[in-house]
Amino acid sequence: MVSWFSNPGSIRQRLLGFLLVGAAAMAILLYFIVRSVAGQLAQESQDNILTASAYSVVDSTRVRSGELIVDIPYFAFSMLGNLSDERVFYSIRLGGEFLSGYEELPSLENIDGELAFQSAEFLGQDVRIATARRPISLSEGSSVLEVSIAQTRQGLSDTLARISGLAAALGLVFFMVAAVLATLIANTTIRPIDRLTASLSRRGPRDLRPVTTPVPVEMEPLVTSLNGFIGRLKTSLSRSEDFIAEAAHRLRTPLALVRTQADITIRRMERDENRKAMRDMITAIDETSRTAGQLLDHAMVSLRADDLETEKIALPVLVRDTVERMTPTAELKDLDLEIGTLADMSVRGDLILLQSALENVVDNAMKYTPIGGQIVVGVSEGGLGLALIAVSDNGPGFPKPGAEPLTDRFARGTNAEGIVGSGLGLTIAQDVLRVHGGALNLTNTEGGGACVELVLPSV
């Protein structure tokens, strides 16, 4: 019990538990109160009738010329008989001396006043006895007339049993209504928490907008501090993104100068070993600038993902534009960059981000496809309301076990040696697709080449 109170557990269950225990206690209390009140009332009414009966006997006694004449009136018993199928006993005593009726009927010892009641057992049955007294004057002196009327309590206990059943039913109904209400109350109380949880858990990994879900006053401090926390996280993220963008930008102009001068120098070089060194230098510069560019793209994807501007994008147009833009680069490597089948599919999304994703995937394919190879970009319907942009090549394909980790930041395949790359390309593409509710699939084609599918929900 102690641990049940102290461990966090479930607020809903605890609330429900308390409310139900309370309702059960109330129902039981209700049962006993109804029962005892009803019992008392029944007892009182029986006592009243017994009193009336006893007094009617007492009232009908007369003293005629010093002699006591008891004439028991008919209605003295008929009023009792009406009550139910009970047995009635009586006894009349004068100054403690038995006159008439059932002698064994217990008489009350030491009673004060005119009227008294008692419950007793008589002839094996529970009886209620009312005793009325009246002093009378007889010829031999004054004495006390004592009339006791007894009635079995069978009817009373029947009535009590009926009332008890009713009270129990009432208590049960009360408990059930209370249980339904308790469930409703528990749910209503929990609902703002559920709503807040849902609105937070629905968020994408990069959604850092403040929480605006309306919450009860009690939860406001929690939401305020949560928003404060989100704000600090966002500031810190955007500061680092700004820094990356600025750094990448600052790198480019001097790199461009070095790259161009190196390009000129290599033309003028006579000795092959110098030329080799210069080639290595240019390769390193290219790698640096590519990484800088991708860091910038990555930062930009994170920034735009926060506040996605979506529009309807026809995938065939996106593919044609991208392929046209990248064809000169493909030609440099003697690669055929071709457009495959273009299904007429459209998606909703950020054009700039999707272009960036596709460019990175195609760029990746170009890097790993050997000279003279072929890359085909096509659009197809993926079923289940999905659109696919597939970029397949006839290069060496992805290393077989676990192609997936390649989409981690800076992860590169085991067969990537000797190829310039930062390992950010597929990460950028995957981030973009995740933001759009899509995914990046890495597979190998039947011919052994790599196939990257950009999966997006179609419209």
Partner: protein, 220 residues
């Protein structure tokens, strides 16, 4: 080809001019938009290379003014920023293409070719070499009624020879012209491409000859 380079960073501009001159191009350099308009008014250019950040304004303004004044010269934007959002708006404003610095000059050449191919349609400058008609934009060699389509590297190799007939090119020099610096290639690869070109030229008077120990040259 005649280029106009609009770039305010003087050392970089000089290097780019030098580099393009090495390939036999004529390059004028303007360091501001105002200078650029003066150049455009006095000479006809095949292509404009435009930097976005200029001392007297944004290169984008230059682009939109080009388009409103029906200035037909193709523009390739050179930008130090690589935000993709920039690139898209550049193309919207009428740039024919863009490149992010540092520039790979082989790529620049390929892009120029693509832009000019798009712009000029069928009305092209062709060059007669021996008994062949060479179309550098389309990448074709025509002899009588027969047209040979060259693959990109064959085209670049042939163009290198055709621009300087009789000049001897070493294998190493040809590697630099043909392959990007990322490619890990040996000089044997050059033999493959020379072999392919020779097959295309079998019936022609134009021949690639081997100069033992030095390299190759084009004889017409």
């Amino acid at each position: 080809m005649r280029f106009l380079l609009i770039e305010d960073h003087a050392p970089l501009a000089k290097a780019v001019v030098d580099r393009l001159s090495l390939d036999g191009h004529v390059v004028d350099h303007a360091s501001s938009m105002a200078d650029a308009w003066d150049f455009i008014a006095t000479a006809a250019y095949d292509l404009i290379l435009l930097d976005i950040m200029l001392p007297d304004g944004d290169g984008r303004d230059f682009l939109s003014r080009c388009r409103t004044e029906a200035q037909k010269t193709p523009v390739i934007v050179l930008t130090a920023r690589s935000e993709v959002s920039d690139r898209v708006s550049l193309l919207d404003l009428g740039a024919d293409d863009y490149m992010v610095k540092p520039i790979d000059f082989s790529e620049l050449e390929a892009r120029c070719r693509a832009v000019l191919r798009r712009r000029q349609g069928e009305a092209r400058n062709t060059k007669g070499i021996g008994d062949l008609v060479f179309d550098p934009l389309a990448g074709t060699l025509r002899k009588d009624a027969e047209t040979i389509q060259l693959r990109p590297r064959e085209l670049r190799l042939f163009e290198t020879f055709a621009n300087s007939p009789g000049q001897i090119f070493s294998k190493a020099a040809l590697v630099d012209r043909l392959f990007s610096f990322d490619d890990d290639v040996t000089e044997n690869a050059i033999e493959v491409y020379v072999g392919r070109l020779r097959r295309h030229l079998e019936t022609s008077s134009v021949q690639i000859t081997t100069v033992r120990g030095l390299g190759y040259k084009l004889d017409t």
